[in-house]
Amino acid sequence: MTSVTDTAPARPAFRLTRAFQGLERLVVPVVLIAGWEAFARSGMLPPALLPAPSAVLHALGDWVFGFDETTQTYSGHWLRDALASALRVFGGFALASLLGILAGVAIGWSRLFEKTLEPTLQMLRPIPPVSWIPLAIIWFGIADKPAIFLVFLGAFFPVLMNSIHGVKTVDHNLVRAGAMMGANGRQMLTDIVLPAALPSIFAGLRIAVGSAWMLTVTAEMVAVKSGLGYVLWDSYYFLRYDIVLAAMISIGLLGYLSDLGLKAIMARTLRWQQATTVQGRAG
């Protein structure tokens, strides 16, 4: 009885929130950018050191579309730079995913691999990927390969750790059920352990794609002469902070898009999980 009268006045408010649905994502960025613009225009810092968002947008626009060559040699070359970085990210990330999942499942499932392989990998893990740069350059020269190698190093360990964890925490009764239904060793891995470990593996992949973008920039600063990271570092030498910021925004955006793509794949693959998790709740 009371619940009917209680919910009735709530309806218009509900409709209001529906009208603004989707806009809620924009609130924080808009507030941040407006504050930044106001601060930059106040003149407390010289515009060369802190360009206003409008100036950054201008640089980004010219970099992408090449309308007034404010970004000089980069004008209109954004797509080429973004593609160069994206290919390195994709190459390193794909390699890291493949090897990380393979090694992780092997270590998680088999005591033999755990004893032989894991100590070495765990010792390599804390070494910062950046510290591999000298060796990477000696081994692979100055081109895409050292960059891909660094991306691989950054992305491999999150995938590895989460795959090991995913396999180790598979419900042993599912393994028993599989054995009861006559699964052989290979089927146990492909049909039971791997799907059961997928939620964990995906968590690792999402961390890894972020690390991959972080490292492609580091790699491009030293090892190659193309890509968003190279443009960022090169512009810093010319004190073009507007381009530096435009490059940072580009990397952030592409990283965000990669994560969205991965999330979409994850949502499709793990649809079975949604009814029981917080993620699947309404709204």
């Binding site: 419900d171 009764n173 599912l174 028993r176 059920a177 054995a179 009861m180 239904m181 006559g182 699964a183 052989n184 089927q187 049909d191 039971i192 799907p195 059961a196 997928l198 793990l270 649809r271 079975w272 999980q273 949604q274 009814a275 029981t276």
Partner: protein
């Protein structure tokens, strides 16, 4: 030849952290005939689930022999269908894919898998839910999927480990009736673990009463009350009284021993 023969089964768990061994099953001898519905009845911790796991091949006895259809049990296999205490379904598969999972492992084509699984779906009354995931169904429905999965394997023996323990009273009654109906229709050998005297009496035609720690067989009671069983009939109550007295004797013995 009995369908299941247990010969001098002893199971010792070594508790490494406390540095001592725990005798869980002490010299179990039991013959289960084909088409028997046997209930293993005993209190928690009497080793009845361990005994079932040994027949299933999930665990190895410390000593003794386990034969199913005359063959030594060494590992789990699809000749012994297991229904677990929790449904234990693959959460990423729909009901029908869970039920037909063993066919997929054998490489049977999808159309034929679904064709054959639909029969089991009907048998456990889940038509209309075949494409639901376990997370979208109730505990009782998931347990039905688990039963259908075991049935479709067409095993010579079905092993059930307190499969209805987590269900509400009403669902439990329905499931018990259905299970008896399925057993009467298909005539397979069932070993059913339970700690409930009533459940054992409703279901079994042989009730094996076990003692607590170490697990021994106190008595194997044959119980051929016609079905459907009237749980208020004098015959039912006589049997119940007998079994309760066995259990009570046991707890008095334990109390005196301690």
């Amino acid at each position: 030849m009995a369908a299941i023969e247990l010969r001098n089964i002893v199971k010792v768990f070594s508790d490494k952290r406390r540095g001592r061994d725990l005798l869980t099953l002490d010299n179990i001898n039991l013959d289960i005939e084909a088409n028997d519905f046997v209930c293993l009845l005993g209190p928690s911790g009497c080793g009845k689930s361990t005994l079932l796991n040994i027949i299933a091949g999930f665990e190895q006895a410390t000593s003794g022999r386990t034969l199913v259809d005359g063959k030594q049990v060494e590992r789990p296999g699809s000749d012994r269908g297991v229904v677990f205490q929790q449904p234990t379904l693959m959460p990423w598969l729909t009901a029908i894919d869970n039920i037909a999972f063993h066919l997929k492992l054998k490489g049977v084509a999808k159309a034929e898998r679904y064709d054959r699984a639909m029969e089991s779906i009907d048998l456990v009354g889940l038509r209309g839910f075949e494409h639901h995931h376990p997370s979208e169904m109730s505990g009782g429905m998931n347990q039905r999927v688990g039963i259908a999965r075991a049935l479709l394997m067409n095993p010579s023996v079905i092993l059930m480990d307190e499969p209805f323990a987590a269900l509400d009273a009403q669902t439990k009654l329905e499931m018990q009736e259905e299970l008896v109906a399925i057993w009467q229709k298909r005539r397979s050998t069932i070993v059913f673990v339970t700690h409930s005297v009533d459940e054992a009496l409703v279901l079994g035609n042989k009730i094996v009463v076990m003692t607590k720690r170490p697990g021994r067989i106190r008595e194997a009671v044959n119980f051929d009350l016609p079905r459907p069983r009237d749980i208020t009939s004098p015959e039912f109550n006589d049997a119940k009284r007998h079994i309760l007295s066995l259990i009570r004797e046991e707890s008095t013995r334990l109390a005196q021993a301690s």
